[in-house]
């Protein structure tokens, strides 16, 4: 594809509902990241996938958050029992395996929990 694609672009959900956010990385990129960006704030690392290795989940803020990456490509970030403080822009990025390469970001999913 032309770049990293995320869907939906915007999501409004009621407090307590579950949501799924999708990321389609650039074809061939083995590294995939999820970040959270709260209003006016910086990047908060959530989770990192690298090839077939076990994901680095050290940034997930609670057990309500989970992510999977099927077939080494598409990734889904799931937030269960959403809370108002989960409202943020969720960014996905992908890169080649080598650490010295550029990370390409998606446009983000703006999640609003009402």
């Amino acid at each position: 594809g032309a770049g990293v694609s995320q869907s939906p672009s915007n999501k409004v959900t009621e407090k307590g509902k579950d949501v799924e956010l999708r990321c389609d990385p650039i074809s061939g990129h083995t590294a995939l990241y999820w970040y959270r960006q709260s209003l006016g704030q910086g990047l908060e690392f959530l989770i990192y996938f690298q090839g077939n290795s076990a994901p680095d989940k050290s940034g997930l803020p609670s057990d309500r958050f989970s992510a999977e990456r099927t077939g080494g490509s598409v990734s889904t970030l799931t937030i269960q029992r959403t809370q108002q403080e989960d409202s943020a822009v969720y960014l996905c990025a992908s890169s080649e395996q080598r650490g010295d390469t550029e990370a390409f970001f998606g446009q983000g999913t703006r999640l609003t929990v009402v």
Binding site: Q50, G99, F105
Partner: protein, 109 residues
Amino acid sequence: AQRVTQPEKLLSVFKGAPVELKCNYSYSGSPELFWYVQYSRQRLQLLLRHISRESIKGFTADLNKGETSFHLKKPFAQEEDSAMYYCALSRSGGFKTIFGAGTRLFVKA
């Protein structure tokens, strides 16, 4: 542990003034350093990387291993430079890229 520190959350300068966005890192090996930028309503994107030793949009950054710094500089700021800037650290071999918390640059007319 690897860490990237951007001490300023917000930096405000006047148009035409020099600007320096600070970045310090902690890593014992040979790091790969990057600066990323996010303009309003645009995707976060790479601005420059230290291995390229290039100037992009008038910005330069020099890796100082002695001070473990990678400050981003521009001699004359422009209004269109207003954006969020992130310093990032990685290393070769499939290790994750670590981002700093970001600095919002505001260039006033």
